[in-house]
């Protein structure tokens, strides 16, 4: 019987089967320092059922006292084969699976996948749909950051804030429910526009929220930003130097915390982001505290963008009228034979995309979310690859956490902001 390196700490095995331990230790050679083999350092397993690992992340820690010598992340516990399953569905049916990637950024995932299809198909999206997409993804960014904030400070010991952030998030989920009928797995953006137009009373809901939220963000900041305990736990912890941040392909707040001005919304504007005024907050030290400040400011900027989108929301169609890709409205089905044919074709066979491959990236709350879509000319995607921010950012956890205490590690995991559904796919 062989064991993986990570099965090492199964206590009964260690006591009873010395041979197994030897084999497992041998597989760890080269990944941890030699002191682990002489017993000078300790190997400790953290997760996958640990509450501070934000899901099913498993960490193999080599500890010298309380100091981390090596940290080996082990992922894959939530691997569901989304990319493989999408290949067996038509383009539009595969859209539901994108919701399940990063389950805190459903609309952002929908948007990226739809944009990839639209790019291959050269499908136009009406301005109204683009503005609604921007507004809702910015609200989604706030809701994702609220969960991050609640769980991050919960790990660091501030329990009450977790309840506050979930209270505010509920308002955002209500808006999504009004639009799409679903709180989380919205599936609201479709290739060519939106599933349906905005509901009645939508504007009031969003306006109420926009008026309500800034005061709450100020409240959070009053609790945390000058809190000596919070500063003690986050300042100069988890430092990420600029060169290493770029070399390790970090994106999102983890990269901007080190002072690199890179945001896809500004660098490669998509979905009409160039129509809006907003700032990109930057950090200077690249520590956990900077990344906290950036996300707090990003929430305010997202409110700003959502307000502009709502104020300037154009009238007009909410989805493209290209009938080869977008189903006809219900009202046409009774009078137009062509509409019936298109409807039938779209819901049985699905649409075909021209042969080609594209890479489309958007700025998700966690970083760069990319979709690499290969079309072979058929109705199903030949290959969909998601470049997910959690997956790429998490690989840096090993070197970022080296030299810090175990209790700092939970802060660093929180500040990288991972969702394991996004990471394992």
């Amino acid at each position: 019987m062989t064991l993986s390196p990570y099965q090492l700490t199964h206590a009964t095995e260690i006591e009873t089967d010395n041979e197994t331990v030897e084999i497992a230790l041998e597989q760890l050679r080269g990944l941890v320092s030699n002191d682990a083999f002489t017993g000078d350092t300790m190997l400790l397993n953290m997760g996958p059922q640990h509450p501070s690992t934000h899901g099913v992340l498993r960490l193999m820690l080599e500890l010298d006292g309380e100091e981390i010598v090596h940290c080996l992340p082990d992922i894959g516990f939530l691997h569901t084969g989304i990319e493989k399953n999408m290949e067996a569905k038509t383009y539009e049916k595969a859209l539901v699976m994108t919701d399940r990637l990063d389950y805190l950024n459903n609309l952002g995932n929908n948007l990226t996948y739809c944009m990839a299809i639209e790019k291959i198909a050269e499908l136009d999206v009406p301005l109204r749909a683009q503005y609604v997409r921007v507004m809702l993804t910015e609200l989604q960014r706030i809701s994702s950051h609220l969960i991050w904030l609640g769980t991050h400070v919960l790990d660091l010991g501030a329990t009450s804030l977790f309840l506050y952030t979930f209270r505010e998030r509920e308002h955002i989920l209500d808006i999504f429910e009004a639009c799409s009928g679903q709180r989380m797995m919205t599936n609201y953006f479709r290739p060519g526009g939106l599933w349906r137009d905005l509901p009645e009373g939508f504007e009031k809901m969003v306006r109420d929220f926009l008026a309500y939220m800034p005061g709450k963000i100020d409240d959070y900041e009053r609790i945390l930003t000058k809190n000596p305990i919070f500063i003690e736990r986050t300042k100069n912890i988890g430092l990420i130097p600029v060169e290493k941040a770029i070399n390790w392909n970090l994106t999102g707040p983890a990269l901007r915390g080190s002072g690199v001005n890179f945001d896809i919304r500004k660098a490669y504007p998509y979905s009409g982001y160039d129509h809006f005024e907003f700032d990109i907050p930057l950090g200077s030290n690249g520590d956990v505290y900077d990344r906290y400040l950036i996300r707090m400011e990003e929430m305010r900027q997202s409110l700003r963008i959502a307000k502009q989108a709502l104020d300037n929301l154009p009238d007009g169609p909410f989805r493209s009228d290209n009938r080869k890709y977008v189903p006809p409205p219900r009202s046409e089905l009774g009078t137009s034979m062509e509409a019936v044919i298109h409807h039938f074709k779209l819901w049985t066979e699905g649409f075909k995309l021209p042969k080609g491959e594209v890479y489309v990236a958007t700025e998700s709350p966690k970083g760069e979310l990319g979709v690499y879509l290969v079309s072979d000319g058929g109705t199903n995607p030949w290959r969909v690859h998601f470049r997910t921010p959690s997956f790429v950012n998490l690989q840096s956890l090993g070197w970022v956490s080296e030299g810090y205490m175990v209790s700092d590690l939970v802060g660093i995991i929180g500040s990288i902001d991972i969702v394991l559904g996004d990471c394992d796919r």
């Binding site: 790019k119 770029i246 390790w248 490669y268 491959e357 594209v358 890479y359 470049r387 790429v392």
Partner: protein, 173 residues
């Protein structure tokens, strides 16, 4: 140098033999290079002034089965200083899906390359930790290959009892 076509022709000038073709689709430029020269081209993209592709946006493998060459690996490169993007692509045959690892240039290629090995069985020579990442360590096969079945268990009836029984997973001993 924001124009990807200009970047592609710079690479073509420097490596006339290595560049197989330059494809443009929907404004995205793909430079197809031979697997042997990938590391040189990647290093050239990384180091040359004016190109400076210091950030690897994405690494993705594709399986074109049953076509030959079967596999492809895509490297979407980005320059943080110049903000331009280009895609390098290598085609790998079914018999020898091996390519040099670029982790020495972009450290962040580490996990994406492990994922490509795990899902497609593409070997990256020189990778510091070439193990599976998403699937369990003792998994057989590479799930995202096109000839790997997607799932679905065959229903066991009396006429196919033995055949299905033989395929069921049993503990090894």
């Amino acid at each position: 140098m924001a124009d990807p076509q200009a970047v592609a022709s710079t690479i073509k000038e420097k490596f006339p033999e290595a560049v197989v073709e330059i494809v443009e689709f929907r404004g995205e430029v793909t430079v197809v290079v031979t697997p042997e020269s990938l590391l040189d081209v990647a290093r050239f993209c990384y180091e040359t002034e004016g190109l400076e592709f210091n950030h690897m946006a994405d690494l993705a493998a594709v399986d074109y089965w049953p076509e030959e060459p079967r596999f492809a690996v895509n490297y979407v490169l980005r320059s943080m200083t110049h903000r331009h993007l280009i895609r390098l692509k290598v085609y790998l045959p079914d018999a020898k899906p091996v390519v040099d690892s670029v982790t020495g240039i972009w450290a962040g290629a580490n996990w994406p390359e492990r994922e490509a090995w795990d899902m497609f069985g593409i070997k990256f020579e020189g990778h510091p930790n070439p193990r599976r990442i998403l699937m369990p360590f003792d998994w057989t096969g590479h799930p995202q290959r096109k000839d790997y079945p997607q799932g679905y268990e065959e229903v066991q009836f009396s006429f196919n009892y033995d055949r299905v029984q033989a395929k069921k997973p049993h503990p090894e001993e």
